[in-house]
Amino acid sequence: MFWKRISIVLLLAMVATIGAAGCRTTAQGGEMVIRYNLGTEPQTLDSALATGQPELTLLNELFEGLVRLDELYQPQPGVAKSWDISDDGTVYTFHLRKAKWSNGDSLTAKDFKYGWLRAISPETSADYAYMLWYIKGAQAYTEGTGTADAVGIEVVNNTTIKITLDQATAYFLSICAFPTMLPVHQATVEASGIKYGSEVENIVTNGPFILTTWEHENILELVPYDDYWNRKVVKLDKLEVYCIEEESTELAMFEAGELDVLDNPPIEEMARLKEEGLVIGGNLGTYYYLYNCQKAPFDNPLVRKALNLAINRQQIVDNVSQGGQIPALAFVPPGIKNPVNGQDFRLEGGNYFADNDIATAQQLLAEAGYPNGQGLPKIEILTNDREAHIKIAQAIMEMWKQGLGIDNVTVRTEEWGVYLDSRDAGNFQVARAGWIADYIDPMTFIDMWVTGGGNNNSFWGDPDYDALVVTGRTNTDQATRFQAMHDAEDIFMDVMPIAPIYFYTDPYMYKPYVKGVIKMPAGPAIDFIKAYIENP
């Protein structure tokens, strides 16, 4: 009797407590729905302020700019159905199609100009304002030394817009796909003020999907936009986007049938997943180690080269990161075509050294004055605190010890923000880094290393290199440009201010009934515009 009473009370109370947690059902029934994990809560859907790759993915679904990127990451007509480029390459004229915003208003050239000026205005303080500095007068406007009127954007009429660049830029069309160049609905911005882009009611979109629900940190729901000019290619009824951060949880949900796409497989499960159908996709980026070329002994190129050659990249790729990455024996990754001859830039450029070349490494180190690693000061590898990086750092630490006899290497782990600051301030000897392409052209990798450049964290510089970068950026002849970029990489890899480790890949997996998803090697990386579900 005593027992019974207590257990009944227990049961009732438990049910009551749990029931109080609220009830909500998600309807499925007959709709074509894909459930995808973004990996994080989107920071904002304000196209001027968004900076991360997850935001890019969403913006690409909800908005459309002058051009839209296809699966080869090439710009295809978007809102602009055609364009003309002047002979000297500095004036671009875009002819827009008739399009509408999701609230019914017409989309005109004025919306583009408004969006662009807003992105580069000093009040907005957009991170990616500099992407638009190719436009004449743009940089001056952002820095406060010029006016908005002096910026080279001209609205010729409702469907024509003309952009004047400072100098010819071969890859400008790719830049037009950047979120900073999306059109923006002025009335919504003015009505929402600071809250623009943070809630469903504070955004008006023009892309293949519209946003119907946004529960922060939890879920976003997208449905097709019926007045999208290319509505017929959109087959989904709904796209559910989750914000799960923990990779192992995402995998658990995928395996339990609660997710349809696996985009961030945890490194620990790679081996098993590869046997279950994990796809290794392309990703235009390089993972590398930075040397601080101002600090001895890293100011000696022989030391840097020795350390590079002693790394066994194949082992790291096979056993540590296990993501099917490609050992990097140069800086610019494969996947960029030279338009002159159709060749891949990397294949043309070749490899600059051999992987795991211990013999040469030891020789170089001895030449540098540190035979068998003796006499070298303590070396510290700086990394941020993600598992994968820490593991790789430890592996490399061992490799330097085994191969070169350097046994006082340590690893310093810092939290992301602190790590970035240390790196920018030069407060490191060797630091882990990665770079993903902003657009498909070798320049996005090459122009990092100009002397004193904002992203040049190796503190290395070379005037010959800088001159070649200028040629690559501004010369309109593709053959000349590409040759200049190859030459630049030659100089760069001869002195190796960095140690390339591997070229990124993009491992992912779909459920067998998911079809038509577009994967891109950079930028938004994934696009569901043509995705659909094949009935099992």
């Binding site: 005593f2 027992w3 207590i6 257990s7 009370v9 227990l10 109370a13 438990m14 407590t17 749990i18 029931g19 109080a20 947690a21 609220g22 909500r24 059902t25 998600t26 920071q43 304000d46 000093p122 009040e123 303080s125 957009a126 991170d127 304002a129 500099y130 952002t142 820095e143 406060g144 600071i194 943070s198 504070n202 529960e215 922060h216 940190e217 939890n218 879920i219 989750y242 914000c243 799960i244 951060e245 923990e246 192992s248 949880t249 658990a252 949900m253 395996e255 339990a256 609660e258 810092e414 939290e415 992301w416 923000g417 602190v418 970035l420 600051d421 920018d424 990665g434 904002g454 992203n455």
Partner: protein, 309 residues
Amino acid sequence: MTRYLIRRLFMTIVALWAIVTITFFLMHAIPGGPFSREKELPAIVIKNLERRYHLDWPMWKQYGYYLWNVCKWDFGPSFKYPSRTVNEIIADGFPVSATLGAVAIGMSLLIGIPIGIVSAFRQYKWQDNITRFVATLGVALPNYVIAAGLIYFVGVKLHWLPVARWGTWDRAIMPAIALAGFPAAFITRLVRSSMLEVLQQDYIRTAKAKGLPGETVLYRHALRNALIPVVTYLGPLIAGIFTGVFVIERMFAIPGLGDAFVNSISNRDYTMILGVTVFYSALLLFMNFLVDVAYVFIDPRIKFLEGED
């Protein structure tokens, strides 16, 4: 009694002020500002951002400005999510965490207390031994280990419950169990030893000698006194759930405040860190205050003890 409560209230406010101050200065001492990015920002953009968030003011001015806003209960905009204010983010995340926490607390009390009582009554018999063993296990495993086990066995293998996220009542079960494991086990042991102690008291013996049935003895005499330590434990219990929530929310992809807080530290989202710290502290302090008030009613001795002070 009111003097006692007023004094407690005063100390709560002082504690809150101390927290705000310590957190403020600690946070600005952390290297790594909120505007560090992988791709370096041009100096002009950084300057504009700093201007917008008043980071270019002298420290004492920032502090004063912040204190004033706290009094107005305005925590400012988030650094990481510029279109949302900290108040909004807290308002979104807190009900979720609170629900999860409440379920977990409810579970631990509803499991711990009855089992502890049973265990005390059947001291050294098999019910007691099993309970003590399981309870001890409960305090021996870190909660993320329990959570990982649950996700794998119950979620992926057996498909009994959805693995993650939030919204329907069945999603609350596994995270609540993972959270409640430790407190439930602790409460079980606590109630057991407290009940044992109470049962040895003279007045219990008297009640039994008078011929009262076992249940009346339990409910009218023993229970109230045995549960006093549980009330004392409520404070640390809530604090413990509160920290466990960081881990559990992340593992089960629950959009609560705990996860937001851990992320805000990585992001150096100053305003968010300060806001959540003040909010949580205020909450905890308030809870402790409530516990104090409850204590006054439950344990009559406290009135006299404090009177001596």
